[in-house]
Amino acid sequence: MSTNNETPSEYVKLISADGFEFVIHREAAMRSGTIKNMLVGPAQFKESFEKEIPFRDIKAVILEIVCRYLYYKWQYEGCTTEIPEFKVDPEVVLETLMTADFLEC
């Protein structure tokens, strides 16, 4: 997850409230219902054009966990072998819960 922007179509950038930018694969981002809607939706949204999505309410810590989860999901979906447990730190689990609920992932 680098902060540098490269191929526009393949990656999307998620920007946290405190200014951190998370560049992730578009495929991974699609696993989040909300982000998917933002990217796929009508071109009226600035996001769909720019491929950058700022989140003014989500902290970088939480956004990082979300990104991690998105990759986790992209990696293991359809997998028949044993899937490892996705761990979340109990301290942030409440905020993660709220964010995950918002992002529909």
Partner: protein
């Protein structure tokens, strides 16, 4: 079959349910998100979280039903239609809980009380090791004697005493002294002799006097009861003045006054008479003895009955 990956929401809820103990203020988290986690909360945890988040209280009413239903009696009442008001479920549970607590405390107090009672009884009955001496009621040997005395029957004791008395005069002083401790507690009247220390004979009792008189009269030596020879052999000189229970005496009333210290005699001949009881033998023996006595310069060991008379 590909497994469905758990949503981040579900994962988060699971983790939250595991760590409810640390949950405090939920902030703006809606009840709907918290519900799956709170359903797994214990009554204690639920109560605490409600306290920290009063705005959730109303919505948490439904959660108390499950806790109420954990009590069988309430569950049965519920199935019959009672406890329908969700707002009351919390209170119902609290009441029931406190009641159970109170009963438990009563029982534990009771059990504890009984246990300590038994412990005390055990301690009281236990054998304790004492340091030092325990005071006894009597002193030493006398207590044993007293105990022995108390145990033997009175009749037996009396019989023994009487037997002792009658045999006392035949026994030499030495023997008597050994048993004097025991016998001395009883009456002394029947013992004619003095203690082992003083050789002087005490005044005789009536019984012994009578006995001696009779003997003088009949000249019959007591044969069975004598344990020692009356006149010791000349080789042995006995310093102690034993009262010689004498064999014969003289119808002639020959009384030989002798010093109590020295006792010598014509011994050999005198020993024999004790064995025989016939008069003839007696007479035979009489003469040699008397002759010898008259002939010998040494004093003979004779009982002087006059002494008894003198001393009485």
């Amino acid at each position: 079959m590909p497994k469905e990956i758990k949503s981040l929401v579900a994962i988060s809820q699971d983790i939250l349910a595991r760590h409810l103990e640390g949950l405090d203020d939920v902030g703006s988290t809606p009840y709907s998100l918290l519900k799956p986690a709170l359903r797994k909360a214990t009554p204690k945890q639920l109560f605490r979280i409600e306290k920290a988040n009063p705005h959730l209280r109303q919505e948490c009413n439904e959660l108390w039903l499950n806790h109420c239903l954990s009590y069988v009696d309430i569950r049965e009442a519920y199935h019959q239609g009672e406890h329908q008001d969700p707002t009351k479920w919390r209170r119902t549970y609290m009441q029931r809980f406190k009641e159970t607590e109170r009963k438990r405390e009563l029982i534990s107090a009771k059990v504890k009380k009984q246990y300590t009672k038994i412990q005390n009884e055990k301690a009281a009955k236990s054998i304790k090791v004492l340091s030092g001496y325990v005071p006894t009621q009597g002193r030493g040997s006398s207590s044993y004697d007293n105990a022995k005395r108390n145990q033997t029957s009175k009749l037996f004791q009396e019989t023994r005493r009487a037997a002792n008395r009658s045999h006392a005069m035949y026994r030499p002083t030495q023997q008597r002294s050994s048993s004097s401790i025991f016998v001395s507690n009883k009456s002394h009247r029947s013992l004619p002799l003095s203690t082992n220390i003083v050789p002087v004979s005490k005044p005789t009792s009536i019984l012994s006097k009578a006995y001696n008189n009779l003997r003088q009269q009949h000249l019959s030596p007591p044969q069975h009861f004598i344990s020692q020879p009356l006149i010791p052999p000349p080789s042995h000189r006995i310093e102690l003045p034993e009262r010689q229970v004498e064999k014969k005496h003289n119808n002639t009333n020959q009384i030989y006054m002798k010093k109590p210290t020295s006792i010598t005699t014509t011994t050999t001949t005198t020993t024999t008479p004790f064995k025989t009881t016939t008069l003839s033998k007696r007479k035979r023996l009489e003469s040699p003895i008397s002759r010898k006595e008259t002939q010998s310069r040494k004093p003979a060991a004779l009982v002087n009955y006059d002494i008894f008379k003198q001393l009485s």
